[in-house]
Amino acid sequence: MFHAGEVVAVIGENGAGKSTLMRIIGGVYQPDAGEIRVDGEVVTIPSVARATDLGIAFIHQELNLASNLSVSANIYLGREPRKFKPLNFIDSQQMTTQTKEILSQLSLDLSPNILVENLSIGQQQMVEIGKALSQKARLIIMDEPTSSLTQHETNHLFELIRTLKSSGVCIVYISHRLAEVNQIADRVLVLRDGKNSGELAREEVTHDQMVSLMVGRELKQYQQRQIQQTCKPMLEICDLVISELATKPINFTIYAGEVVGMFGLVGAGRTELAEAIFGVRETISGTIKVDNQEADLETPRQAIEAGVAMVPEDRRVYGLIVESSVCDNITLPSLNCYQWAKFIREKETKRVTKQMVEDLNVRTTNIFNNVETLSGGNQQKVVLAKWLSLAPRVLLLDEPTRGVDVMSKSEIYQLIENMVSQEVAILMISSDLEEILRISDRVLVMHEGTLTGELQREELSEEAIMKLATGKQ
C-alpha cells in the first residue's frame, strides 16, 4: 500500500524479489495471483504503457536514455508534441518550452537542447525524473537511484524527492544503502525470499532493525581491525602522468597489509588511475614499482605477472564473461597454471573452482552454470575469486560493493580482511563514504585528475574527505 505524498523505501537482499515486485507494478511482468489497486480500483497492468496511463513511472538502475539525443527529445521520446497534424512534424518550440518548465521544477540549470551524452550521471538521472514528471506520474519507482551518484548529487536528489513528496507524488525507493533509507524514507518495506518480512514506520527505522529483517538473522558486526604496522612498500607510484588526466604527476605508496581507500567525485579520475596501474590505459611518464621492483605495466598481462590484480567497476562489462560458466570465469586469468603443453587440465580447473566457490561462499548450484544466472553479489565474488588463486600482491578494487546485497557486502569486507592479513596491498576506490571510513587504513582523495590529499586513520571524517574531494582548500 503506497499513499500519495510519501516516500516508501523497499529493501531486501539481492534475490529477495524487490525488482520482480516493482516490475509487476510497472507492467513488465504479470502476477500469478493477487490484485493491484490504484485509487481503490482493481486494475490489471498488462504493459508498461498501461502503467504510464495509471501514473506509474519506473526509473531503472541502468538509465534508459538515448545519449545521442537532447534533453527535451529524451523527455518527450515517443510523445513528442506535434504540429501540422496530418504530417506530424515535431513541434520543437513547444517541446523546448515544456522541457524548460519541467527542468525549472527540478531546479536543474540545463539547456533543453544539450545532448544527454554531455551530462553527468547525476544529471541524467534528473532527466529521467523529468521524464516521469512530464508523464504526470503519481507514483515513481526508483531502483537504486544513488548507486552511481556522488554525495553532492545524492543530496540534490533527496531535496528533489522531498519536493515531489510535498506535491503529492508517491516515491518508491529501492536501495541497498541503509543510511540513505534512514535519511529519506517515511516508511520501510522489507522483503525477504519473495515475501513481505516486515514493515517499519519512520520512528522505528534503525540500521540494525532493517538489517535483521532483511537477513532474518543477526549480522556479525564488522569490527575495526588492528592496523598492522608494516613498512614494506608494495606499490609505489612515482610521478605518474596519465594522458586523459591533468598533467600534475601522481605520487603515492601503498604498504603491504594495508587498505588504502580512494575517494573522489565522479570524473575525478580514480578509475583512470587504477586502469593505468593495471596496464589498460596508457601513461605518459612516471614509474610504477611493485615490491621494490620497477614494473613495466603496459598490458594487463604484464600487470598480472607483476602481481597486480584489478576488480573493475563495471563487472558485467570488464569483470566477467557473463555467458561463460563460473568455472571458466574463475580460471581465466590463471589458466596458464592449469595446463600441460597448453592443454587445459580440466580436473585441476574444476578442483580450484570448487575450492574458490566454497571459500568465498558463492551461491551457485553448479560450477558450470553461466555467471549471468547468479545474483549481483555472487557475481562480484566470482570476480574476486578470479584473482585469489593467483595470490596477487597488489589488489585494485574499483567500487567492489556496488549493487551488492548486504550479506555479500560483509563477506567481501571479510575477504578484504583476509587478504590484508596475507600482506596484500589493497587500493579500494569507492563512492560510498561509509564504506571508505569503515575499511580504510588511510584515504587518498582525488579531484579533477589530481591527488588532492591523503588522510591518516585518525584524521578521517566525512567532512575532511568531502573537503578534499570538492577541491575546497
Partner: protein, 320 residues
C-alpha cells in the same frame, strides 16, 4: 552440443527425404561426390569459424582461394619450382596475408569487414595479374601430388573428406582443450573482460586470422588440384560465402564467442546436400542460390526462436 545435434538431425532429414523421393541421390557415386565437396568447402569453413568466433569476419577467403589456386600450379608448372618449395611459398603467402589482416584489425582497429573486403578485391586482382588472365592447371603431370585429392580410402572415402576430418579433429581439440581455444571463446564473448583477465587479445585475434588464411590457402591448393583448371578471374568466387554460411548454419554466432567444429562440418555438409538435392529434385538450377538462402534463413530463425524460448524458461526459473 544441442545445437550440433539439431543441425545433424536436420541434415539427416533432408538426406533421407531427398533419398526417398529420388533414389539415385543415395547412389555411392553421388555420396562420394558430396563428401568430396564437403571436404573441400569444410576446410574453408573451419577457417571462417575461427575468425567468426572472435567476433570478426573474413570476406577474402574466396579471392585467397583464387590466388593460391592460381599461384600453386603457376609455381610448379610454369616456373618449375620443386613441389615442397612451391608448397612453402604458398603457405608463406597465406600466413602473411592473415598476419596483415590481423594487424590491421587489432593494431589499427579497422573493422574486419572492411579489411577483408579490400582483401577480396586485392587478391583477386593479384591472381589475375600474375597469371596474365591465363588458365592455370597441372595438365596430365603431377599424378602423385594430385592423389592428395583423387585418392579414395577403401575405394570409397575421398581424400578431401579425410583431410577435413583430420583438420576438424585438430581444430576441435585446439578450440576445446587448449588454453588458446578457451581464450578465443572468452574474447569472442567479451573482449574487454578477457583483456582485463590478462588474455593477450590482440595476438589471439591475429592468430585466428592467420589460421583462416592458411586454411583458405591450403583449400585453394586442393581446389586447384581437384579442378585442374584455374581461371584466375572466377576461381573461388563466392567461396567465402559458402564458408560463412556453413559456419553460421553449424551454430557460429556472428556476435562471436560461439561455435563448434563438428557443427561447422555438419553445416557445410548441409549446404552441399541442399545444392545436390536441388539438382536431383529437378528444381531449376537457376534457383539454387534462392533455395540455399532460404534454408539458411529458416535455420537461423529457428535457432533464434529456440534460444528465446530457452531464455524465457530460464527467467521463469530465476523468478520463482
Amino acid at each position: 552440443m544441442k545445437k550440433t545435434l539439431g543441425i545433424f538431425l536436420l541434415l539427416t532429414a533432408i538426406f533421407l527425404i531427398t533419398g526417398i523421393i529420388e533414389p539415385r541421390f543415395m547412389q555411392s557415386g553421388n555420396m562420394i561426390n558430396m563428401a568430396r565437396w564437403t571436404g573441400l568447402y569444410g576446410i574453408l569453413a573451419i577457417g571462417a569459424c575461427f575468425v567468426i568466433i572472435t567476433g570478426g569476419i573474413d570476406l577474402s577467403i574466396g579471392s585467397l582461394v583464387g590466388l593460391t589456386g592460381a599461384l600453386f600450379p603457376l609455381l610448379l608448372v610454369r616456373e618449375g619450382v620443386p613441389i615442397v618449395i612451391g608448397f612453402v611459398l604458398v603457405f608463406t603467402c597465406a600466413v602473411t596475408i592473415g598476419l596483415i589482416h590481423g594487424l590491421l584489425i587489432t593494431k589499427l582497429k579497422l573493422q574486419p569487414f572492411i579489411v577483408t573486403l579490400c582483401g577480396l578485391f586485392i587478391y583477386r586482382g593479384i591472381a589475375r595479374y600474375i597469371t596474365g588472365e591465363i588458365n592455370q592447371g597441372f595438365g596430365n603431370g603431377f599424378g602423385g601430388l594430385r592423389l592428395l585429392v583423387k585418392y579414395r580410402l577403401f575405394d570409397k572415402i575421398p581424400m578431401p573428406f579425410i583431410i577435413l576430418i583430420g583438420f576438424g579433429i585438430v581444430a576441435a581439440i585446439f578450440l576445446n582443450k587448449t588454453i588458446y581455444g578457451r581464450y578465443l571463446l572468452a574474447l569472442g564473448r567479451n573482449r574487454d573482460a578477457a583483456r582485463f583477465s590478462g588474455v593477450n587479445t590482440d595476438s589471439m585475434i591475429i592468430g585466428a586470422y592467420i589460421i583462416c588464411s592458411v586454411l583458405a590457402g591450403f583449400g585453394g591448393m586442393l581446389f586447384a588440384l581437384d579442378q585442374n583448371s584455374v581461371q584466375p578471374s572466377t576461381f573461388g568466387n563466392f567461396y567465402e560465402l559458402y564458408a560463412i554460411a556453413g559456419a553460421v548454419l553449424g551454430g557460429c554466432s556472428l556476435r562471436g564467442g560461439e561455435g563448434t567444429i563438428s557443427g561447422v562440418i555438419f553445416g557445410t555438409a548441409m549446404v552441399e546436400v541442399i545444392k545436390n538435392s536441388v539438382f536431383f529434385l529437378n528444381v531449376p538450377t537457376e534457383s539454387e542460390f534462392t533455395v540455399i538462402g532460404f534454408v539458411i534463413l529458416i535455420g537461423v530463425t529457428f535457432d533464434e526462436l529456440i534460444k528465446r524460448m530457452a531464455i524465457g524458461q530460464k527467467t521463469r526459473i530465476v523468478d520463482t
